[in-house]
């Protein structure tokens, strides 16, 4: 099957990296617009290559018999440790990486075009495009990784570019703090990821996904044999790897960085913190899914996801910054994907959750990017992130209004928009697996419809007669065209027959709509929207009354249930005060003290004996003479003693 040469996929990695170097090093010599257009054009080329690759994979070379294979189209041995343990760099195509190629390049292209308008006139425009290229390079490298180590390398690169983009406005202290927070939190989680990789490679003797995810790989048995604190080595490794994924995907309790990451430019948030990077954790679990299947760890993953989904949905209802609402919505939706993996089995219809997760990843990327870009257009128009500065904008921003409405309907899960299809599959998978998880997801889905509608009404309706200092106006075509394209995708991407292409074992199966679940989730969505319409369509007292009835609940939700404070307490009061400070004291007083003592003794001793090196020749001779004489006397008496 490999007779078709697919090494052209290397362009997907080479081009953005080249662009990063060109824009990063020479960007300041170019006019901003030239740099932006150059980056956008190269992304257009990449998107074309990615579509062609996906087409080739899904319809020409990928299928052997009835099963989609994973094709290592390029593999280069980079580091050899011993025996089979080596690190390769390469490109592997399989259903999920081909899917991700399409998602990443599409959203990235939209963001590139959109940013031409949104970022116009910003200082560091070229730097922004260079970083976008770096991010695209890293993300593509992550999804096509042939082995877990390559994935880890690109995983960190993604983190770095995210860090750099969050702190794009580096003169704002809050942006700098947010980027530091994002980097430290994800880095802390990545430490576990690395430990997990080391454990798994120790038992498996390889980093290769092909060997690791072979369902009857011999290493699984050997890793099950070794236990630690009641869990097998394999479970520990999988749990640690999931913690890494939870850090990137902002699962509880590592979600705290994502809302703050909204300090970055809005299009970058759309690309990184909504559509692509944050689903890396989902992708990671999906990539290693054959090992996860059937373990307790997967069960835990399902619960973590479900709880996070409900939690983030509650918090999103009480936020007033529109980007923060979207951030919590992202956390909640990614949690849906994670839960879906957690409730999935392997093969055939059992793998419904896996398919649904990837499906939701696909549709979510479009409607969430659309929501962010729409929010960006709104912010662009009113120069504020706060809901209180908005209202009645549907008259001024008609295109943004329509596309935003499409995205809201999609995320709420209204038939026939894309979110309905993918969310319904997730609900069905959860329903058949565990009713409690289903209940949590159902609750989260209700709230999703509610808070998204609330956001929509607060921006575009609510205060219809609000007077603005500057009359808000629709943004230019560079910003509205991506919105329209994404709106079309958000509306119709649900009709892709996913279960034919992307399944846990590569075989197609027939997914059908479960009428009971579909009815329930539609009911939830409609219910949420109706409640929000009653409360927020016009300016009324109802929301205030509600918050006054449950002041504590509202306060807790708007303060994000104090997770940041808990983390601060743990790090400041426990880790810094109880662990770091004593260690620092030990370092400063014992370790440094020992070294300082050595230096002090040496100095004092040399001070005492430096008189010997006076440079006075006569003194030297005197000393020499005394020495010679004493030697003579000793010698004479010694001989006399011997002779006597």
């Amino acid at each position: 099957m490999n007779d078709i040469n697919m090494s052209y996929t290397l362009i997907l990695l080479a081009l953005p990296f080249l662009m990063f170097l060109v824009l990063g090093l020479l960007g300041n010599k170019m006019k901003p617009l030239v740099a932006g257009v150059l980056g956008t054009l190269s992304l257009g080329v990449m998107a074309a290559v990615a579509y062609y690759t996906a087409y080739q994979y899904f319809f020409v070379v990928g299928k052997v018999g009835e099963v989609y294979q994973s094709l290592p189209v390029f593999n280069y041995e980079w580091l050899q440790f011993y025996g089979e343990l080596k690190i390769n760099l390469g490109i592997m195509l399989d259903p999920i990486s081909a899917l991700m190629l399409v998602v990443i390049t599409t959203v990235s292209l939209m963001v590139h075009i959109y940013s031409l308008g949104y970022m116009k006139g910003e200082r560091g425009f070229q730097r922004y495009y260079a970083l976008l290229s770096l991010f695209t390079f890293a993300m593509l490298g992550l999804v096509v990784a042939t082995n877990i180590f390559q994935m880890y390398i690109f995983w960190e690169l993604v983190g770095v570019s995210s860090f750099a983009l969050i702190s794009f406005y580096y003169t704002k202290p809050s942006a700098v703090a947010a980027s530091k927070k994002a980097f430290i939190v994800t880095r802390f989680a990545d430490l576990f990821f690395l430990i997990g990789i080391l454990i798994i490679s120790y038992f498996a003797g390889t980093f290769d996904f092909a060997t690791l995810t072979d369902p009857d790989a011999p290493f699984i048995g050997s890793a099950v044999g070794a236990t630690f604190l009641g869990g097998t080595a394999l479970s520990w490794a999988l749990a640690f790897i999931f913690i890494g994924g939870a850090g990137k995907s902002a699962m509880m309790p590592f979600h705290i960085w994502l809302p703050d990451a909204m300090e970055g430019p809005t299009p970058a948030s759309a690309l990184i913190h909504a559509a692509t990077m944050v689903v890396a954790g989902v992708f990671l679990v999906a990539r290693l899914f054959p090992i996860y299947v059937g373990t307790t760890v997967l069960e835990i993953i399902g619960w973590v996801g479900a709880i996070t989904a409900a939690y983030a949905a509650i918090v999103a209802c009480a936020q007033t910054d529109i980007k923060r609402v979207l951030a919590f919505s992202t956390i909640s939706q990614i949690a849906f994907m994670i839960t879906s993996l957690g409730v999935s089995g392997y093969g055939g219809h059992d793998g419904l959750g896996y398919m649904a997760s990837m499906f939701h990843l696909f549709t979510h990327a479009f409607f969430k990017a659309l929501l962010f870009m729409g929010a960006g257009a709104v912010i662009h128009a009113v120069h504020s992130n706060e809901m209180k500065d908005m209202g009645g904008l549907r008259k001024y921003l008609p295109i943004t209004h329509i596309t935003f409405a499409v995205a809201v309907l999609a995320i709420a899960g209204i038939f026939p928009f894309s979110g309905f299809w993918s969310k319904d599959e997730i609900m069905a998978a959860a329903f058949h697996h565990n009713k409690a998880i289903f209940a949590l997801l159902f609750f989260a889905a209700c709230l999703t419809a509610f808070y998204m509608s609330r956001l929509y009404y607060r921006i575009f309706w609510y205060d219809n007669n609000k007077d603005y200092h500057h009359k808000p106006h629709e943004a230019g075509p560079t910003m509205t065209i991506p919105l329209i394209i994404l709106a079309i995708l958000a509306a119709f991407s649900g009709f892709v027959p996913f279960s034919k292409y992307i399944t846990s074992d590569g075989k197609a199966f027939e997914a059908h709509i479960d009428m009971l679940v579909a009815g329930l989730s539609t009911l939830a969505a409609v219910g949420g929207i109706v409640v929000a319409t009653l409360m927020y369509a016009k300016k009324k007292d109802a929301p205030n009354k509600f918050t006054q009835t449950f002041p504590r609940l509202y306060k807790w939700a708007s303060d994000r249930f104090y997770f940041d404070e808990i983390w601060l307490f743990v790090t400041r009061k426990i880790i810094f005060d109880r662990i770091s400070k004593p260690i620092a004291w030990f370092d400063r007083h014992i370790v440094d003290g020992f070294m300082d003592g050595l230096a002090y003794v040496t100095q004092a001793a040399s001070d005492k004996i430096k008189g010997l090196q006076s440079g006075h020749i006569q003194q030297y001779i005197f000393v020499y003479l005394i020495g010679a004489l004493s030697l003579v006397f000793i010698f004479i008496f010694f001989i006399a003693f011997l002779l006597s």
Binding site: G615, Q618, F622
Partner: protein, 105 residues
């Protein structure tokens, strides 16, 4: 002549030698240091001659060694004087003190 005991000769040479040592250590003037050095050398020459004369009267090695030493002393004095003159030309002093180190470079 033969009545003079060997010990008396050795005492004189020892006296000369330590007078030289003392001068070498205590004098600051380089000429005086050189003189003290000569004193020590001559004390050693005297020892050679005395031992040859009293212990091995039939042989001449000690005498020759003394002559040899005198020749070396003369050459060494010539060199030392040359050095001292050069120092004098440079720093206008011939005392052993810190100034001499300036000639190191």
């Amino acid at each position: 002549m033969n009545n003079i005991p060997m010990e008396a000769c050795l005492a004189i040479s020892t006296l000369m030698f330590f007078a030289g040592v003392y001068g070498f250590l205590s004098r600051k003037n380089m000429i005086m240091v050189l003189v003290s050095l000569e004193l020590m050398l001559n004390a050693v020459d005297l020892n050679f001659v005395v031992f040859n004369r009293y212990l091995y009267p039939g042989q001449m090695e000690g005498m020759f060694f003394a002559l040899f030493g005198i020749a070396i002393a003369a050459a060494e004095t010539a060199i030392a004087i040359a050095i001292i003159i050069n120092i004098y030309r440079n720093v206008k002093r011939i005392y052993i003190d810190e100034n001499i180190t300036e000639l190191k470079h």
